[in-house]
Amino acid sequence: MSDLACGFAGRTLNVDLSAGTTETTETPDPTCWLGSRGWNALIGWQHVLPGIGPFDPENHLAFSAGTLAGTGAPTAGRMTVSSLSPRGYPTPMWTSATMGGYLATELKLAGFDTVDIFGGANAPCYLLIEDGKASLRDAQALWGLGVYQTQRRLKEAHGAECQIAAIGPAGENRVRFATIHHRLSNAVGNGGLGGVMGSKNLKAIVVRGTGRVRIAHPQRMLEAIQYVNQRISTGLYYTGRPEPGPEHRACSFGCTARCHTRLRPSPDRYGLGVPWLMTSCVDGVWMRGEPAPDAMLYQGHDVHGQRLAIRSTRGFPEQGADLTNLTNDLGITNWVHHTWSHYLGALRDMGITEIDGQALDIDNPDWWRHWLEDIAYRRGLGDDYAEGLSRFHDKHQVGPRYLADFFEDAGSRGHGWHREGRTMERHPSPFWEHSALLYAVSTRDVTPSTHGFFFLNPLYGYPDAPLTPDDVPARFKQIARVLYGSEEAAHPGTACLETVTMYHQHCAILKDSMGVCDWKYPVVALPPEDGSHMPDEAIGNLNAEWMLLEAATGLEMDPDALRRPAAERVLNLERCIEVRNNGRSRELDEAVIPHYQWSDKTDGTHLSSDAGEFRDLLNRYYALSGWDGKLGWPTEAKLRELGLDSAAETIAELRQSVNS
């Protein structure tokens, strides 16, 4: 019996698909590992050893419910899924992705915090978890179906209240950007983990739990919930305040916040049997209208004088809903449209109108329909598209390399570049520098758990650079002081870059591990735009997660310890997995430099030709992290300080082999 009496299920389900067996073990200590992302990192370190590839049976796929999932904590319906991801470029990388919906809560109600899946089944199967019991079932009849039909069939078999995560044809066929899908639009979307599930012949996970999550201090929990609700219910503090409406639905169990998710009727032109479309910012990529003739996604130059002008491409207001649902149903991340439509559009503007005889008819929604299906089933050229843009360009060498790299390269780890002041919103200094540093030390698109790094951005009135510290509005200085302890953190070119970046890295790990929404925590509000006074204490409670955790679990932890050392420990162990398994080092961290030598789309700033200032920033970041400046590896002293003795020994051996 686990000692984790409150807040947790206390058990991990270990599923060996090769042997067809399951067993349970105790959930690792959450005071050490925080929760889902930390537990998954521990699995990666202990079991995913060097030499294992993403599609090898020895790779593990870990699903963990957030620590606060099922406790009533606002927005805490999320889980973390981690594995060695095939999407990583130039090498596969240890990757974590989060997903909302009802699955995390259902898993906990069924008696498990984590499901650790390894091995590979001989034939298609699905995992059925019902109130503490698990079994593997034949999925031959489901193989080849889309995620919607798969869920409907499984609900018919196991009841409407079961919760399901499933892969579509893209996952079955090991597409590198395949999703694991849940409900209508929840997904482990951008991490590339659907193909890992497919490689294991695992079509779906079905969970039904009728149990409960015990709460250590119910009254205190209710008070903490009310406290957080009052601060998050009025809207996203850095993307606006959407009004409530009949279309508005929560994406996750326990999400009391208003945000951009909308449930709208779908015409279902492709006959998927789905009458609705759930939209968010991600799904919206297909539905953008016709841009103005002169609308540019990017227009600028790099430090070497190379110029680039990329026109904004169109979405499909009419067919966009169908394309969104089709993308979901096939098990492909919707972000592909943003990246590929602009890349292919730029190629066409350069006079390249076909690839291998296939016309780039990107203004035609039917062309995209076939493009998606060819990828999911790896038909024809779709087999190469399914490898991701970087690998596609490696093979086809179509157009200039710098164009492909502008959208996706080793610096972006094989993900579409995202929120770095170039291809999406304006992010003048210091925000694009944070983005650069986050990308440098990450293994995937950094945005999903670190939206906070840009909450001081121009969406809320931060002026376009160039500017001086005197131009920074007082409210941004105030929030910088409250969050980071220094008003200078809001200044362009601030000397606090590494401190702020690390703060948000730790926040991201904490949020992922707790299972709460990245858009809502820490619970922060911006002071009024009209300049009226707002006391520091009204800006927010940076320890809201701790309040909820303490009330739900009864664990007695220092609030500051959630970030350091707990989140820091997880970050270091993830880095050690990468160092040990994939040779991660400073050299790959610096692969971000060429992208940031393109000018920011609004303020025109960029890294210098020798990127000396960025290398210096990396030095400062490594020093702050307790990593050595030469290799960018955690030092043995830092690892031992964090209690990671096994990792310290491994890194010491690796260091010895490098030095000898």
């Binding site: 009728t210 709460i215 009310q226 759930m278």
Partner: protein
Amino acid sequence: MTSNHPAHLRSATVTIQRLAFNADACRACRACEMACALTREGAVGPSLARIRVAFDEFAPTAVVSARYCLQCSDAPCMDACPTEAMTRHPRTGAVMIDAELCIGCMRCAKACPWDIPQRHPDRRLATKCDLCSDLPEGPACVRYCPLAGEALAVEAVKGEVQS
């Protein structure tokens, strides 16, 4: 079904409070379920909640729905109870279950047109929404609903009850 209440009782028109649910406004966050279970049971789990919200994104219509007691004025559950464990709260008019008198026969659930009373998973006695009538601040589900007043509210209706 045969009434267990004496036939000589008179009818009276009273005000009955009950939950009012608006499926169009509900966001299906299920905060109501969690607040109910936390407040009444000190734990979280839909099986412990007296209100249940379902959100079926694959359904052609009525994607959000809720199940809860309507505190019916004719209250067939009360009539069916063999131990007179069900009474109306004097302030709210909600139908209460006296755990000391309930024997867990679940005839109340069989009599209810919507099968609302549930067997408590631990105590094995009938449970249902009593509008948190013992709490001066009102039902927990409404208090914790992020769209209280729009998606979930307390409404008062006139009803004829036996007195």
